[in-house]
Symmetry: C2
Subunit: 263 residues, 2 copies
C-alpha cells in the first residue's frame, strides 16, 4: 500500500481524494510537498497572515490564494482545495462543527486559503538518512500535540504551538536534527527534543490529533512545529467560519520537496 | 563623518533623526539593521503583506506592527516610526505629494507599518570581505532603479521590482555574491549581474532614487532587490494614504545584522 501510493503523481493523488477516499497522506506521492490548509474570511486574513509571518516555524507559508480562489499554481491550476483534501474540518466561531470529505458546500467567495508547509516533506529525507519514521512504518497518522507554548499573537489571532512527534533512536537524534534543519520551509529543525512535560504534554499515548504510535526503548520523543497550529489559533480566535484539513490528511501539491531544501 | 556615525547606537541615531537631521543612513550604526518603512491603511495591509510574502527578495519582512502602533521591539519599544526616520514620503492615492522630516501629522490609527529589510545590512560584510561599497566611499546615497520586471501581484498590490546597484570589480563579483547570499533576510544574493538594459535600465547615471556614483573601468554593475519596491507598488496600487521612508533614509533598528546571517 505505502509503496503504491508513494509513486502516485500529485494530480492522481488529488483525484483519488476528490473522488472520496479518506485517509492520512503520510507517504503519498513521495518527493512532493503536502500542505496544511486553513481558509478564513478576508476580514481575518491579514491577522492570520501576520500570525504566520510572526510564527514561521509552525506556519511556513507555501502559498496564499486570492479571496475566493480555490486553485493555484501549486495545484497545477487544476486541483481544487475544496475537494482534493481527504478530509476537512469546519469551524464556526472557533468551534469544530463538522468533519467532511468535501468542503464545497461550505466555501464562500470571501474565503482566503493558506497553504502551509508540512513536515511530511522531510520524511523521505529522514528515511534516506536511515532515520526511522514510525508512523509511516506503522501505517498510521502522525501524533500531534497542543503545547503550553503560546505563539506570538497577531491582531485577533493567537493560540498555542502545536507539534508533531516522532520517536527517534537516541543515537540518531543528531541526524534527525541535521536532516530536518535543511528544510526550514516545512518546519525545519525540531523545536524540542525529549522532555515532553516541558511542553505541557503529559501523556504521549494521548495525542490531541492523529494516532499514538509505538515508542521503543532507547527512543527519544522529538517534536517539530506543526501546521495544525493555525487551526488551534482559529479555535482561540473564533472567526465566524474557517475550513481546515483534518490533521494528517493533507493537500498533495505539485511542489517538489527538493525545492524546499536549503544548501 | 562616516566613522563617527558608524559608532552611534541605534537609539542615538534615531534621536538625531527625531530631532530633525536629514541624511541618508548608509554607514550609520554599523552592525545594526536598517529598515525600509511603508505604512498603509488596514484595509490594504493584507494585500501588502501578501505582496511581501510573494516577493521575498525585495520585501523581506523584519516586522509588521499592529494597526496604529508606532513603536515595537525592533525599536527598543521607545523609538517612534513617525519621527525617527530622517525623511518620509507621503503618498495620496499613489501620488507622492510631500517629502517631510516628521510624519506625525499624517499618522492615522488605521495605518499598519511594515519594516522591511535593507541591503545596508550586508554592506559591513562586503567591506570586511574587501569588496568596495562605492556609495559609502563617496558619502552618497545608493543608486536605485525601477526595473521592467513585474513583481508577483497580490490583490490590489502590484508593481515593478526596484533594485539597488553597486559597482563591483569583476574579480570580486563572486565574493559579493557569496557574502550577500548569506543574508537572505535583507535581500540576499544579487538578482542580476551586469547588463542593466536587460532590466530596462538605460542610463546608470540617472537613478530613479538615490544618487549616481562613480563606476570605474573593470567594474560590473551588480543589482540587488531593494526595499523601495513596496513604495513602487503603492504608486501603482494607489491606497488613499501611504507613508514611506525617503529612499536611502532608513529606520535604524536595534536588530543586529549578525542575526540575519545564515550559516
Amino acid at each position: 500500500m505505502t509503496t503504491d501510493v508513494a509513486t502516485l503523481s500529485p494530480a492522481e493523488a488529488r483525484r483519488r481524494f476528490r473522488e472520496g477516499l479518506v485517509t492520512p497522506t503520510a507517504g503519498w506521492s513521495a518527493g512532493y510537498a503536502q500542505a496544511n490548509l486553513v481558509a478564513v474570511p478576508r476580514d481575518y486574513a491579514f491577522d492570520l497572515l501576520l500570525f504566520a509571518q510572526r510564527n514561521p516555524k509552525p506556519c511556513p507559508i507555501l502559498d496564499v490564494l486570492e479571496p475566493g480562489q480555490f486553485t493555484g499554481p501549486l495545484l497545477g491550476d487544476e486541483g481544487d482545495i475544496r475537494t482534493d483534501v481527504p478530509a476537512y474540518r469546519i469551524y464556526r466561531d472557533g468551534v469544530l462543527t463538522e468533519e467532511v470529505p468535501d468542503a464545497t458546500e461550505y466555501w464562500r467567495e470571501d474565503l482566503v486559503a493558506f497553504l502551509v508547509g508540512c513536515s511530511f516533506s522531510f520524511e523521505d529525507a529522514l528515511l534516506e538518512a536511515g532515520v526511522p519514521v514510525r508512523h509511516i512504518e506503522e501505517g498510521r497518522n502522525v501524533p500531534m500535540f497542543r503545547t503550553n507554548r503560546p505563539c506570538r499573537s497577531a491582531g485577533r489571532m493567537s493560540g498555542p504551538l502545536v507539534v508533531s512527534m516522532r520517536p527517534i533512536p537516541a543515537e540518531q537524534v543528531a541526524d534527525a536534527v541535521r536532516v530536518t534543519s535543511r528544510y526550514p520551509g516545512v518546519h525545519g529543525a525540531p523545536v524540542h527534543v525529549g522532555d515532553p512535560e516541558a511542553l505541557g504534554i503529559t501523556d504521549l499515548s494521548q495525542p490531541d490529533f492523529g494516532d499514538a504510535g509505538t515508542i521503543r526503548p532507547g527512543e527519544i520523543p522529538v517534536f517539530w512545529a506543526c501546521g495544525v497550529t493555525p487551526q488551534a489559533a482559529v479555535m482561540e480566535s473564533k472567526p465566524p467560519l474557517a475550513i481546515g484539513h483534518a490533521p494528517g490528511h493533507m493537500l498533495v501539491t505539485d511542489l517538489r520537496d527538493s525545492t524546499l531544501l536549503v544548501p
